[in-house]
């Protein structure tokens, strides 16, 4: 099996409001897949559909080759799930909660729980309600990882974690991948997941706007160039060059963006006397902001 998750024209409507709008994508087995989008884009809706907590209006999802609804119990045995706001019975001790969840899975070796608790520095004797949000989230991480599931479905897993624990979490995700596990994790912040993800999907208003590796997305980001000349130059001449956009001339200063190779721009500029040249890449977060807020592609 090479596809861990396959979504086909997945649509979920809440009354007149669209949660998901014909979303299709594939997550390969064994990859760490980042699922990005602003709040309200449909990330949690997708995840709750994968877990059969809600049902699609139309379209379909296959997870580990199974139907989320018909094969729910079989599928859940092979998956681990963590919500952004992990909720368990607050009156119980952390260890009690984990032992019960392990029993629901038909048993998990105790050393898996104690090992993860030690690594994340979780006090298993503490009552859940006495824990801070970050510590509660760590309990959530333990229950998601403890049975070494084939597929980890993590909804905003890093919310509330302090930076040190975030690093431990990213290490755990990397180890899961090395172990052959598939990780599907959502976030609204790229930098949180950038370091471990193989590919990322960006969704907006329930639809896919981009799906690629982080490197490829970075390559897509354009170069911002500012050239100063000894004398004013005709802007139109530069606007016609391949890959050059957003050209504006202000006296003897020309600014533009360049997608791909800047070769044509450099050669065109060389016909004049260049007194200054400044170029920098668009920040990746800015690129994401552009996906989030720009005109909807496709």
């Amino acid at each position: 099996m090479h596809t861990a998750i396959e979504l086909t024209e997945l649509t979920k409507s809440y009354g007149s409001r669209r949660g998901l709008d014909g979303l299709s994508l594939q997550v390969r087995a064994g990859e760490v897949f980042g699922y990005l989008g602003p709040n309200g884009a449909g990330k949690s809706t997708t995840i709750r559909l994968l877990l059969d907590l809600i049902r699609p209006t139309s379209g379909s999802a296959r997870v580990l080759g199974l139907d989320p609804r018909a094969d729910a119990a079989r599928l859940h045995r092979r998956t681990g799930y963590l919500a952004g706001d992990f909720v368990v019975d607050g009156r119980r001790r952390a260890g009690e909660c984990l032992a019960f969840l392990a029993r629901l899975r038909g048993g998990v070796p105790a050393h898996r729980i104690t090992g993860l608790a030690a690594r994340l520095d979780v006090d298993l004797d503490a009552r859940i309600k006495s824990l801070s949000k970050g510590n509660r989230q760590k309990v959530g991480l333990i229950q998601a990882f403890m049975h070494e599931p084939e597929l980890l479905i993590l909804d905003e897993p890093t919310s509330g974690l302090d930076p040190l624990v975030q690093q431990t979490f990213l290490d755990m995700v990397g180890e899961a991948r090395d172990n052959g596990q598939t990780v599907f994790m959502s976030s609204h912040i790229l930098s949180e997941v950038e370091a471990v993800t193989d590919r990322v999907a960006i969704i907006r208003e329930g639809a896919l706007v981009a799906l690629d590796t982080v490197d490829a997305l970075r390559a897509r980001s354009s170069l911002r160039v500012r050239v100063t000349f000894a004398a004013p130059v005709p802007a139109g001449e530069f606007a016609a060059l391949p890959g050059v956009q957003h050209v504006s001339a202000d006296g003897d200063t020309l600014t533009c963006t360049v997608d791909g190779s800047p070769d044509a721009l450099v050669k065109a500029a060389a016909q004049y006397t260049v007194t200054g040249l400044h170029a920098d890449t668009q920040d990746l977060e800015e690129l994401f902001q552009a996906y989030y807020t720009g005109p909807r592609a496709a």
Binding site: R48, L53, A72, R77, Y81, V87, F100, L104, Q143
Partner: protein, 262 residues
């Protein structure tokens, strides 16, 4: 393939061990106290009960069974059983759906129907405990309070119906929450309110010339056949049990089909 067996049942029972014990002890003790008043009450004769209240069974104090069918098994204990069912049933699905914990549980390898049925089974165990405590209280106080004319079989039959009554309102609250996703407070309020309303209907129906309406209330099947005097009323008990089964089946049917709320 590994299985989780009755993990949800045992966990629910374990988590509720104290509250179920308190329900059973409180109900048993109250029943015991009121039953123990019988010698005084039978001496005074309760002539003060208004005519309009006769449907509640408070007017017959000449026999032990008659008295017990009044304040004890006619009022106090069945209302407590109703509230037990409403309160516990509102926690079967509604409370955890409201908090979001249900999402986590159902992301585990336990089907929705299985989760619901195992939790309802724990509720049933709590109802049995209440019935058992009341039965034990009655048997303990029987001789000391001049209640010897009611046989152990009569007490057993009435407490069986009490358990079934608690189960019925538990099934109503469970089914309501499972089918609709309403909040715990709403499910409790609707169930308890409905319980009190049909209790009043059962009591007042004969006075308002609508005796037939009694057949629509569970309290009629609970005490109408006078099990304290007549022993187990199989048909009445079957009606109560069947109503519970229908409510649970309908709630489960809807629960496995609907979207869970957050």
């Amino acid at each position: 393939m590994t299985t989780n067996g009755g993990a949800m049942f045992t966990k629910t029972l374990y988590d509720n061990r104290r509250i179920f014990t308190v329900w059973a002890l409180a109900t048993g003790l109250l029943a015991l106290m009121y039953a123990a008043f019988y010698p005084q009450v039978s001496a005074d004769a309760m002539a003060s009960v208004p005519e309009s209240m006769s449907g509640f069974g408070l007017d017959d104090t000449s026999t032990a069974a008659g008295y017990l069918q009044g304040p004890v098994f006619g009022l106090l204990v069945p209302l407590l059983a109703t509230f037990y069912g409403a309160a516990t049933g509102a926690r079967t699905i509604s409370a955890d759906e409201e908090s979001g914990y249900l999402d986590l549980l159902l992301a585990h390898p336990i089907g929705r129907a299985r989760l619901l049925l195992q939790r309802f089974a724990a509720l049933a165990a709590g109802a049995l405990l209440i019935g058992g405590a009341v039965l034990a209280a009655m048997l303990a106080v029987r001789d000391g309070a001049d209640l010897g004319s009611v046989g152990a079989g009569g007490f057993a039959a009435q407490t069986l119906n009490l358990t079934l009554l608690a189960l019925l309102f538990g099934a109503l609250a469970t089914g309501l929450g499972a089918a609709t996703g309403l909040t715990r407070a709403t499910v409790f309020g609707v169930t308890a309110g409905l319980g009190v309303a049909v209790f009043a209907l059962n009591g007042f129906a004969p006075q308002i010339g609508a005796g037939g309406l009694r057949y629509l209330t569970p309290f009629h099947y609970y005490i109408g056949g006078e099990p304290l005097k007549n022993g187990v009323q199989v048909a009445d008990a079957a009606v109560l049990a069947a109503a519970s089964a229908v409510l649970i089946a309908a709630g489960t049917w809807r629960f496995v089909r609907r979207d869970l709320g957050r």
